[in-house]
Symmetry: C2
């Protein structure tokens, strides 16, 4: 269980560190940054709400709330889904792209500082492999999405 304890402490500390940096530099929450980043990588910079919720691993209601916050700031817009009247598309606006472009470097720098740069290439490769496996197993075993 030593591995688990070390992992727990490290993950909590990482989260706090990243959160602190993002909030100070851009006023974004880490959750909000993840949402913007996911949208930025998506085709047409838009995603269905449920799909986005799966991606950032947050509850549906949690995503509704955060999209609301981002909408207030004009970083994201909602669009109705053409193929499904129930669906809602979250769309990254130009302001959202701009905000992400401004914020990303500082964020990436912190992530490198407290994680990536501490690992050898081997360790980094292993880390990625292990975490992907954990992700796969966990997604398969637990409730797909409440």
């Amino acid at each position: 269980m030593a591995a688990w304890r070390a992992y727990l402490s490290a993950s909590h500390l990482l989260e706090r560190r990243v959160e602190e940096q993002l909030k100070a530099e851009s006023g974004l929450t880490h959750a909000q940054y993840e949402i913007l980043a996911r949208l930025s990588d998506a085709p047409d910079r838009r995603l269905r709400m449920t799909e986005l919720a799966r991606g950032v691993v947050v509850s549906k209601s949690g995503l509704t709330y955060q999209i609301g916050q981002l909408e207030k700031r004009g970083l994201v817009e909602r669009a109705t889904c053409p193929s499904d009247d129930r669906g809602v598309l979250a769309v990254l606006t130009d302001r959202g792209v701009e905000c992400l472009r401004r914020t990303a470097p500082g964020h990436v720098a912190v992530v490198r500082e407290v994680l990536i740069d501490l690992l050898t290439p081997d360790e980094l490769e292993m880390m990625t492999r292990v975490m992907s496996k954990v992700e796969a197993v966990t997604r398969a075993s637990a409730s797909p999405l409440p």
Copy 2:
């Protein structure tokens, strides 16, 4: 950044899975479980509030709240610190020990299932080493404790 994205998804999923299991089996939050576990390992099953907050990586006010919850359930008591009148000791009660003893097996089983058992011995060793390093660097660089 692939490593970072994999890590993020995995850590969120792990947290949700562990939380779900603990809440279902014992009605404890993961944060509460960590508190009980830390206290259980401490000499005389007691720790200063600040020291405990550092250990579980939570804000001072967050710990105050959770200790209050655990006190309501009779799993923890507060005691005044003999050497410092300002200090407060969180003490694990016999009921707390009992609760932990009852809860631990299921918790450990899940942790093994979704993390430990997925790794080879080499990977486990590397994981521990890496996470310890991250912990050390992060503790050194950020605000020691707001």
